[in-house]
Symmetry: C2
Subunit: 436 residues, 2 copies
């Protein structure tokens, strides 16, 4: 008999894996249900991914967009949070297996494990072209961008200096657009006068998109505006341009080559290993194919939500991997479980799309809300207010609002830290003269 | 002929290695002198070490106590900042050698490379008992402390749970006292209600000091107060207790053993490799023995300042390794160089001790300023105001003041992030089902 991790057994056991938007919403939707919830995540924090690019570009600190899961849920007494790595799911025994701890039994399971970057079968590119999904990705990219300028200042060879000052973004969706705009602002404003041997304003920022235009989720007029705004900021926007290889010194294109010091991957995502755990049918991106109530076919007590799930809207179009989908799915499944316990049921899940938005830079963003198309300053204000609103907790709303206001007025960025220095430079401890 | 890194050659070249308190003060003291300054540091930031323990204990974010050196000095036009690792100094050729870049020629050299932890010849303890000198140390310790509670929540064995909830601080100086108080507050207040399987208030926090009392730099009445305040907060203060070994599961004492999940080293420091670079005479802690004007004997154009230097006050007592010493030394050497260029000189360096202070916890700190002994609430207010005052930049003063006020009112801490997840849990990328 293995000791399980479940706290008490006098209520139905709901186990939720993943504390992203979907997992968190599902947990909160169960706050008043007569259940015990165990929420498992491999980190201790919920990451507000829409602002992660601001950590990667030194505008915000990690702690401003990543909050302890326990703290968010401290008042919800029917939740136990476990920081642990899930290694598998036993559907027959109804238990989730953890690394280094006992398993967790469930009556109902919600899998909300999200997605990670996809290199379309070229995982070896990951080393040279990091993607942006987790806090550690953001500090890694921040380090890469800032080090590019530092190393250019040290470089004695002109070609090498130009390479180090070349930044390539692969993928013209919201993340690629937002990163490109932010790097352009760093080079043109934030650090423009901080160097003596290089002029950061000469940095090349190149946004590559394989499709015919950037921001495919947005209407064409807004995408056009964003492309023009980026170009005005000095970003080289290249559509219909496919990357064929990434290496330590740049990228190869179909018919071309860009030597670059920094390459950032914003092109594709692949779902977490949920499909493998569940032995379930999945789509090309690894997302588990779920039924109309988001449960697994033949396993009505197992739900898959958010980026880990493959679902369609009323017209049969696949739902995008965005926060509103995950949140609505989480809320739906939480309510469905509560309804079932009360002997009721709910109609099938139906997604309501609130709109799309992306920021390009200072006073330039694009927003589509229903029939409304906003751009420029008004779009940018809307974007800022919307993101402040969705932050959890007054403290972070205040700090982020203050930071944005300060940065807007001063053209600065407050988190320009290069941390995690590579190992070979950490040798001074052992080099130090040992006291006799 | 090697290409050197020096920007222009129409002024005397002053090279400063290290952008801590000493190097930064020296740089700023040369702002109006007819010189070219090259400031070299292996990081891109100046770390405000007095508040580093607040990063380690999740109260502040790294970017709030570590600021880009370039940004601090952006208006001082006679400074070039280089982020590079110094590998040696050639005194005869008057040049500083860098890793991966050309050397830097100097007319005058200031070495301000600081100190790191000393394990008294037991460098193998470093792995188990990290010390606190750099931003990376602080995030590592923060991770260790927070993971202690997370792993205790997962543990099924009672002895192992108690071990994980035991925190040992080695060294009863200001850092050890401040860390012990902060960990006690985390356990007793911040996360007291965040767990379901453990009660964080049962955590053991043990402060070990080899000497007869804690805070040896402060007068006995203040140290007594601090020890009592710590005890009241639940810290087990043990003086005259020497650690004989650190391993992965705790520490051995002379006549005893403490099983612990977290051991933090706050006991000893050793100077940077400056003595080796300079082939200079040094004391037992590796600090370079300097003359009364802080220059190297026989090399009047080479100065060593701050924690890297061994100097004495007017009564022949060694100067402590604290920020005021480094700052006053930096300012003195900067002024001395400017005076020499004007054909003048300065009297020997003389240190003026502003006082000592340490905070124990909420509304409890000890301060000695000249004849005044402050403690309790008034000492704590003084400590806070003094630290806000010494932060560089209005932005950080505001953010830190806001954070402290918020945390004081809510008993919270805003930066409870566990980042840099160990490698074995990073496997999901390759585990993800690959799209066909």
């Amino acid at each position: 008999m293995i000791a399980t991790m479940n706290p008490r057994r006098d209520h139905p056991q709901i186990v939720i894996v993943g504390a992203g938007f979907g997992g968190l919403e599902a947990t909160m939707a169960l706050a008043r249900a007569p259940v015990e919830v165990t929420l498992i995540d491999r980190t201790n924090h919920h990451c507000f991914q829409p602002l992660l690019y601001q950590v990667a570009t030194a505008a915000l600190s990690p702690a401003e967009v990543a909050w302890p899961i326990r703290h968010i849920l401290r008042r919800q007494k029917n939740v136990t949070v476990l920081m642990a790595e899930v290694t598998g799911v036993d559907l027959a025994l109804k238990r989730v297996e953890l690394q280094g701890a006992g398993p967790v039994d469930y009556d109902t399971l919600i899998v909300a494990t999200g997605a990670t970057h996809s290199y379309f079968g070229h995982d070896e590119w990951a080393e040279h072209a990091p993607g942006l999904k987790r806090i550690e990705d953001a500090t890694r990219i921040r380090r890469h961008i800032l080090l590019g300028f530092e190393q250019a200042e040290l470089a004695s060879d002109e070609a090498e200096r130009q390479r180090l000052l070349t930044f390539v973004l692969v993928g013209g969706g919201a993340t690629g657009v937002e990163m490109a705009g932010a790097i352009a602002e760093i080079a043109r404003h934030t650090i423009a006068r901080d160097f003596r041997r290089i002029d950061p304003r000469t940095a090349r920022i190149i946004l590559l998109e394989a499709g015919p235009r950037i921001l495919p989720a947005l209407p064409e007029d807004l995408a056009d505006y964003a492309a023009k705004a980026l170009t005005r900021m000095g970003v080289d926007v290249r559509t219909a341009t496919r990357v064929t290889n990434c290496d330590a010194r740049g990228v190869d294109l179909e018919g071309g080559r860009i030597d670059a010091g920094t390459v950032i991957w914003a092109a594709g995502v692949v779902a977490s290993p949920a499909a493998r755990w569940l032995g379930a049918e999945h789509d090309r991106a690894g997302r588990v194919i779920v039924g109309p109530d988001l449960s697994l076919p033949k396993w009505p007590d197992v739900f898959v939500i958010g980026d880990a799930a493959s679902a369609t809207d009323a017209k049969g179009r696949p739902l995008p991997g965005v926060a509103p989908v995950a949140k609505q799915m989480g809320r739906y499944v939480g309510k469905l479980i509560a309804a079932r316990l009360a002997g009721k049921t709910l109609p099938d899940f139906r997604y309501r799309h609130p709109g799309d938005l992306a920021t390009v830079g200072r006073r330039a963003a694009v927003v589509k809300i229903g029939p409304f198309h906003l751009k420029g300053f008004i779009g940018w204000l809307f974007w800022g207010v919307a993101h402040i609103y969705f932050l959890i907790g007054l403290r972070y709303r205040f700090i982020v609002a203050f930071t944005w206001l300060w940065d807007y007025l001063t053209f600065q960025r407050g988190a320009r830290l290069i941390t995690e220095v590579p190992r070979q430079t950490k040798s001074t401890v052992s080099d130090a003269p040992t006291p006799p």
